[in-house]
Symmetry: C2
Subunit: 308 residues, 2 copies
């Protein structure tokens, strides 16, 4: 609630066309795609997370925004608030470096400040990408488009739950929560052909409703089509409750693309081993978002995702 009022206020200031109405998590300027995400302790990461994973996550969540627009990483500015714990800070920087190296993101500047002792850790990154031949916005979806998902959903939310139950938990799901993988190559392959595209970070259902709303259309999501990882299924099964948990989980850093039904994304130059599935479609009637399973409507869960 608090956030909405402030965001509304910021939205009124951000009247420039480059701001895209603040609807796309990115801005466009001179052929560049700009994004900035901040992460805070106890909000976006856990105090017990290894510092290198926090640095990795900061970079990855920003790269995921670039992936959602099919952009190629070009430069990053790091906002580094030192915690006062040297080891923690240096390992955090290790994680930033590892992610920048992995995805070819040159760190070109930023700011380092020392916070007062005991202050909540907050970090920010501005990532800048070069736009491809086409930059698909959230608002470009067309009637009849298929909705395709790149990546799986639910893993990070399941990993977070494991960590909440036991701060020493380990395993594939915990790894996904701590070290998300931005789908840059898949985003670049899909962008020229997608009417609309975005990264899925706050929960698939919430993000799909945002894409539908921006496109002035309605989204139908087929619950049974959601791609789930074997680690997720081993932990939670693949039943309806598990699928609803995955659909609203958040921190997926998957991609959601609205693509004409005449195009088969599997014919596009996606990286090998890309998980991609048709999970729904855009239409004109009904509510902004509806869920179906086995051809029958499924009630929406109370919470569609995270509004941080």
């Amino acid at each position: 609630m608090r956030e909405s009022r402030a965001i509304e206020r910021v939205r009124r200031i951000a009247a420039s066309p480059a701001a895209l109405g603040l609807r796309d998590d990115v801005a466009l300027l001179d052929g560049l795609v700009l994004t900035h995400d901040s992460i805070a302790e106890d909000v976006h990461f856990l105090a017990s997370d290894p510092p290198a994973s926090v640095g990795w996550k900061l970079v990855a969540v920003n790269l995921s925004d670039l992936a959602g627009k099919g952009a190629t990483p070009a430069a990053a500015l790091l906002s580094l608030a030192l915690s006062g714990d040297d080891d923690w800070d240096l390992h955090f920087i290790d994680g930033v470096e590892a992610a920048c190296e992995s995805y070819g993101l040159p760190l070109v500047g930023g700011d380092t400040i020392a916070l007062p002792r005991g202050a909540t850790k907050v970090f920010g990154l501005t990532a800048i990408g070069r736009a491809g031949e086409k930059t698909p916005l959230r608002s470009g979806g067309k009637v009849g488009d298929s909705l395709w998902l790149v990546g799986t959903v639910g893993d990070a939310a399941a990993g977070l739950q494991l960590l909440r139950d036991d701060a020493n938990a380990t395993g594939a799901l915990v790894d996904v929560y701590r070290r998300p993988v931005p789908q840059l190559a898949a985003g670049q392959a899909l962008a020229p052909h997608a009417h609309a595209m975005m990264d899925v970070s706050d929960g698939l259902l919430l993000d799909a409703s945002r894409l539908a709303e921006a496109s002035v259309l309605k989204a139908v999501i087929e619950l049974d089509s959601l791609p789930l990882s074997s680690a997720f299924i081993a932990e939670r099964g693949a039943g309806r409750d598990a699928r609803l948990f995955a659909a609203a989980g958040g921190d997926d850093y998957a991609l959601l693309a609205a693509i004409s039904p005449e195009i088969d994304p599997l014919t596009l130059p996606l990286p090998s081993k890309t998980t991609i599935a048709r999970i729904g479609s855009l239409k004109t009637d009904g509510s902004i978002l509806s869920l179906v399973s086995g051809g029958r409507p499924v009630p929406l869960p109370k919470r569609l995702g995270f509004e941080h």
Copy 2:
């Protein structure tokens, strides 16, 4: 100390030419000048400062970095960490808006997060400017260049001292501390003719030594030439102690430019009422930084400025 080690580590990562070795507070990419400054409560502003002035300062300190390179404001991304105090946050945004409007800086994006209650307030801004025909770096100073200062020094430091003595203090010096004015137009006028240029934000002596070091030269500063405001003189006088205080004060957001002695900056299209003074020169011998007064050397103060 802590900061230096982390900055050193970040510097090794920032090997891209666009990063300019992290020496210029800006990066260059595709004809754009990029900068990011963060400000934290109790470090860069006081908890008692009016929130609108904090928002103004966040924008102004970033614009000052663009001014130091002669760039024209093009876009900003705001990292807004909500404090939980609605009134405070909305007034803060008012201040951001006022500064963006005053200097033609379009807000195009960013991120809003809600911090846990009681967390230290930290805000960040990425400012992007379009480079002019020439972007003077710190490293371009040449032997014999005159050092010119745009603006006055000492006002903000004197204002901060007044506020530390009495949180309810008011007046011109307090205003300068809270609402710095970026010297954008002067920067744009000087940039094509300056061998080196930077904004003065951490203390003139510290920043002048950085310019000299980057240019592999030595700076001589003439203490008696420092431009002081009438408000500063009324508060602290214009004697040697006052001048040393002003020279190491910080938060000035003045400009320091190294310009060939054959060029008279007063003939350039500076805004009317610009305060500009020749305060020294660059040479090859001696220590990185020396101070003179009445033609005689003056010992350097212990502290040359703020290493935040």
